[in-house]
């Protein structure tokens, strides 16, 4: 079980690590500015496309089916996000006193209900072919 709520100061290392993570590649990129040769030519700077001149812009519009994946993902990711705080409810000693029908923890029962509802949604999405790659 978690003890005290975590103080903000414990997140200071995150910022330092973030800066450290930026310094290393920036130093490498600064180094190649000095030591690497740089003689740009038009052919050298062109996009690779099987050796020919690139045809049209590459920023294509992707199939709308692709965005259905994103929507289903958002739904299930939110489900997982709800499960994370649920662990602490489940692990709470006081919560384990509440039993349903004498055998099931109340927290477990509620989460079971939640998962079943979402599973119905998943089956619906699969049946409607929302999760078919085209």
């Amino acid at each position: 079980m978690a003890g005290e709520p975590m103080a903000v100061v414990n997140y200071i290392p995150l910022i330092i690590f973030l800066i450290m993570g930026a310094i290393v590649p920036i130093a490498a990129l600064a180094a190649i500015k000095i030591i690497a040769p740089n003689k740009p030519k038009r052919q050298k700077l062109s996009i690779y496309e099987g050796g020919l001149k690139p045809i049209r812009d590459a920023k294509i519009q992707y199939s709308v089916q692709y965005y259905l994946f994103a929507i289903v993902f958002v739904i299930f990711d939110v489900e997982v996000l709800f499960l994370y705080p649920w662990i602490y409810v489940y692990a709470n000693k006081a919560m384990q006193q509440f039993m349903i029908y004498g055998f099931m923890n109340y927290a477990v029962f509620e989460m079971l209900l939640f998962i079943v509802v979402l599973l119905v949604g998943l089956i619906y999405a699969i049946k409607k072919e929302a999760l078919r790659w085209v």
């Binding site: 997140y11 590459a58 920023k59 499960l83």
Partner: protein
């Protein structure tokens, strides 16, 4: 020894902000060194082991028989290559993609315990930011790499890169949910989301307590790391090199290097969650008994990495529609089944 520990804990209690700052600076220097050198050794080890699988020598020229300095030679080559940014590329995003990748790996490294020191019968975990939610945090930070991949692919303005970037995102979102549910199943048994507490609670390794969860987590982890059965975002035979087609020189080197950094950190995470972390019999030799938890974790990580290379050399690449189908239609329901199993075992038999 006791005195030093007492002074440190006292100082941490009195001046938490200063302590966090000092730990952060020391940790950033040490861990970025350890992780980067470790990733270099992983690349070298992968080339060596893969060549063993293929019955050939692998690197054996630079630095003696084992070719241990091959990566130094490769680094010199990458640094002295001409720096080419494609004319049509989105310059700012193109330049920032490797930097974001590196920042993402460091964000993973900050919360992962790299082992423990065994002093006077107690384990002191070596972790920079010991958060209550570190399992959730590490999993979230591991998937930040997908954003760097998308930045690299989208900014290159190359059709192959764009395909790779879109595939990378679709693959990541299909396996993110099962992976999260597996972490939750572990946390249900450990009654905590703190990685240190998860390791401490493993009197029985979770690989034995929930074998199904272990299998799902390994598959999802390989997907997250983009290694071979699931490397559709850079499938060489179909889309040249995927998201990093337009990258060359050290810019490509940085992206490639971060993949191996992530592989190293991911295998540490796998050992911590399912393989008992630094648990193992204490070696009864002075000095060695202090670092024996580190030795056990190191051995587990090496075995996991070897397993990843074995998988890479044995399996073929799957098609992207097969991958997303498998993720949504099998992995997700099975991971929920595993969650039910974990709750059942955790509630009634623990």
């Amino acid at each position: 020894m006791d005195g030093i520990i007492e002074i440190i804990t006292q100082f941490a209690a009195d001046e938490p902000a200063v302590f966090a700052l000092i730990i952060g600076i020391i940790g950033a220097a040490v861990i970025s060194g350890v992780v980067n050198v470790g990733a270099m050794l992983v690349i070298w080890g992968e080339r060596k082991v893969l060549s063993d699988f293929c019955n050939r020598y692998g690197p054996n020229r630079v630095g003696g028989r084992w070719g241990i300095l091959q990566l130094g030679a490769d680094a010199i080559k990458l640094f002295t290559k001409e720096d080419i940014i494609p004319g049509d590329a989105d310059k700012a995003v193109y330049v920032w993609a490797p930097i974001v990748a590196s920042m993402a790996t460091m964000l993973v490294a900050v919360a992962i315990p790299f082992g423990a020191l065994h002093i006077n019968g107690k384990d002191y975990p070596l972790v920079v930011a010991n958060m209550d939610i570190s399992a959730l945090y590490v999993e979230a930070a591991l998937s930040l790499m997908a954003i760097a991949v998308f930045m690299a692919g989208y900014s290159s303005n190359n059709k192959y890169s764009i395909l790779g970037a879109f595939r990378g995102i679709a693959r990541m979102i299909a396996y993110e949910v099962p992976m999260g549910v597996c972490v939750i199943s572990v946390a249900v048994m450990a009654h905590s989301l703190n990685l240190v507490e998860i390791v401490e609670s493993q009197t029985v390794w979770y690989v034995f307590a929930q074998p199904l969860g272990f299998v799902i987590f390994v598959i999802a982890l390989i997907t997250d790391l983009g290694r071979i059965p699931f490397d559709q975002s850079e499938a060489e035979e179909e889309i040249i090199s995927g998201y990093n087609t337009e990258y060359s020189g050290i810019r490509w080197g940085l992206l490639y290097f971060q993949e191996y950094n992530n592989a190293l950190l991911g295998s540490i995470l796998l050992s911590l969650l399912f393989l008992g972390g630094w648990h193992g019999p204490i070696i009864p030799i002075p000095i060695l008994d202090i670092i024996s938890p580190l030795i056990w974790l190191f051995m587990k990580v090496v075995i996991v990495l070897w397993f990843f290379i074995w998988v890479r050399s044995s399996l073929f690449r799957l098609r992207i529609d097969q991958v997303t189908n498998f993720g949504w239609k099998w992995m997700l329901p099975l991971s929920l089944l595993n969650l039910g199993w974990a709750v059942l075992i955790g509630s009634y038999f623990a």
